[in-house]
Amino acid sequence: MATTVSPRAKQYTDELDRLWTERPGVLGWLTTTDHKRIGIMYFFTTLAFFGAGGVEALLIRSQLIGPNGHVLSPQAYDEVFTMHGITMIFLFVIPMTTGAFGNYLIPLMIGARDMAFPRLNALSFWIFLGSGLFMYAALLQGHAPNAGWFDYVPLASKQFDPGNNIDYYGYGLIFNGISSTIASINFIVTIFKLRAPGMSLNRMPLFCFAFLAVAFALLFALPSLSVAALFLELDRQLGFHFYDAAFGGAPLLWQNLFWIFGHPEVYIIILPAFGIATSIIPAFVHRRMVFFPLVALAEILVAFLGFGVWVHHMFTVGFSTLTTVYFAAASLIIVIPSAIQLFAWIATIVTGTPDFQTPLLFIIGFIVYFIIGGLSGITVAAIPFDQQVHDSYYIIAHFHFVIFGAAVFPILGGMYFWFPKVTGRVYHELTGKVSFWLTFAGTFITFFPMHIVGILGMPRRNYTYPPDMGWTLLNFIESIGSYLLAAGLILIVANLAISYFRGPRTDPPFEGDTLEWATSSPPPPYNFAVIPTVRSPYPMWDKEDRERDNQRLERGEGLLNLEHATPATTVQDAQLDEILSMPSHSPWPPLTALALTGVFAMLVMQHYWIAFGFLVVGGLTLLGWHQNEEQA
């Protein structure tokens, strides 16, 4: 928001600039601890992985466009569909939402100057980058993971997959999990401790509630995946027998551990999308969210209930009727908080005065696809039906409507929505709308026929199919849809890229309700000249408060312009509690991540002593880290 400031206020903001501006150039980016820069690095890194995952998807669809395809060999197809799944889940959707959107926006939304632990924040990015490159190094070497993104044993055991493809998967996910664990701790502490004075929990934006729920879900879900992957690598590399039935092990232990993580993962993926939707809708319908407290509770409840439904991925493994019925019922209960949010979004739009600009179109697309994905989800919670369509393209259709339609659409809408905030420029609206319709149509044409082809019996993961199965036309339509979808996505990226250089420099053409809109676009390094105070969940619509912030700036109040600092508040009521000194640039996070990358690379190659050496180096970097006594 552009405002005119007096010479005295300018003097204060200059002081803040001197305190908070980081080094320029590559070194500045390598050593940054600024949440905005880290968010931008997450954004471009995850976008690159999205591109890679997209190319893999197009290869899959090109292979399946007709019967007896020869675009990929069976071995290459296995690697491509596995990497597609791993990339989209672990290297795109989660880091894009939590890493890019969360990092950039949460401190701004809560009126803080940075994350609670800025150096840990940088570390989580560099570890994420290391883990992504680690897994893609496997693809470049021709040893990419090849047993599917959920990597069932015994298929993934040493006996049936003797190369080191699976080892890249196992170690890669443990490595990636470290990044997500660090990030989730950082988000929780940031939301608990750094909210602006007055932003009690009931005044916190719904976006932050969604990210808080995601952070807790990650914290409690990831250990299960890490343990599963640890057991897998101990089996494969050191001859242990966790999953080997011949020695008393249990192959189903993998499935249980994986899905104890894997189903909360679905909500980890989709909850940030809910948060984005609750940010975009009020800005474009010009009214407050309907059922604000219920939506906040529903967001948390979805994350909580997500831990009690994992067996619905395993209805065909032979559990007792009682067990499967329990998990089917638990799965259906999640419909309740999901529906609360759905009705709240729809009611807010219907009772407001909607302005159908591009971000809102993407949210409406998300609602449509969330309903389709949700309804097909109810069908697969029905045990007999699930047993019929298990491992068929029906399941692919269901989760792509949920993950692409319901999780990625809000990401795309969010990219448009916050583009003016991040860049200070405005995107091309008509091109935005065209890109929406291309993406919307492409998604439907690609994934909807998969329901039918799945019911007709086409199994997932087969690298080809014969011409006489009745699947040919549907597969052809799906592949054409995927090209259309790719065109829509490319148009979005092109629109934003061109607008970054040529878009008009004006204020955003909409009025957001949360605090990130209270500062300039792009925000200054210190985020807010005056630490804002908050009296409602819609602080930007409390004009008096924002006017008072400007007056305080003129008087030099609430500036923290004497040191690199941010206020900490109490967890529940957000009362000012102390002033924290925050670290600025630091070389230690990338160095620690580099050492950890060395550890995992050596583990894959089974050079255990060298791996131990890298671990020691990592420990030494932590000693350097603690030379300065600031927040971690």
């Binding site: 632990f117 840990l120 305080r552 509690d577 924290l580 006594e629």
Partner: protein, 211 residues
């Protein structure tokens, strides 16, 4: 803040023990560092919950546990050494309490006392594991795999705690009990409370065939 500097403590300015203790007393909520450690420990406790759950999953799926040829674990050695480790919890409580009162050397003494016992505990455990390895290995059966993995994971956390002890003691003794290291002492104490709790849970798990 310039308008609130008089009322709100600037934690980084607390570079001496008494000033750090005053900041600690004035806080209405736990500091960020404490929250960070608490959440990290939630994650670690979940990790051990998963490991222990896996132990019983494999146990309940087998006809005989431990398998034929492996004697059930002996109770006295592990139980006594774990009881000794539990005895370090009051020492860490006293260390953290001393730090919060600004008594730097008192805190150091309590933590050093706990440190010595914790080292002795780990040394004993190494000897017990060596003894176990003469009887069976992690590569022999799924029982051996989960038994040793549980113990190694627990001992790795004890070892990490010892390294943290060393780092915190060095910093507090050399540079003083600043606000940063006071929170460090509190985080360290919290770490040990949870690791000791985890160790007790692991002990009951691995001894369950003999109970």
């Amino acid at each position: 803040m310039t308008d609130a500097a008089g009322q709100v403590p600037r934690s980084a300015h607390a570079e001496r023990s008494r000033a750090a203790a005053a900041v600690d007393r004035s806080r209405a909520a736990q500091p960020s560092g404490w929250w960070g450690m608490a959440l990290f420990l939630c994650s670690e406790a979940t990790l051990f919950g998963t490991l222990i759950g896996s132990y019983f999953y494999l146990n309940f799926g087998s006809h005989r546990w431990p398998p034929a040829g492996i004697t059930p674990p002996e109770i006295p050695g592990p139980a006594i050494s774990t009881a000794v480790l539990v005895g370090t919890v009051p020492l860490m409580v006293l260390g953290a309490a001393a730090a919060r009162r600004g008594r730097r050397w008192s805190a150091v003494r309590w933590i050093v006392a706990a440190f010595v016992i914790q080292i002795a505990y780990l040394a004993t455990q190494v000897l017990l594991i060596r003894h176990d390895l003469l009887d069976f290995t992690p590569q022999g059966t799924a029982y051996g795999s989960i038994y040793f993995t549980l113990l190694f994971a627990d001992h790795a956390h004890v070892l990490l705690g010892l390294l943290l002890n060393g780092a915190v003691l060095y910093k507090v003794a050399r540079h003083g009990l600043t606000n940063y290291w006071l929170i460090g002492v509190r985080g360290l104490a919290l770490y040990w409370y949870v690791v000791v709790g985890i160790t007790v849970a692991v002990l009951f798990t691995v001894l369950s065939p003999s109970l």
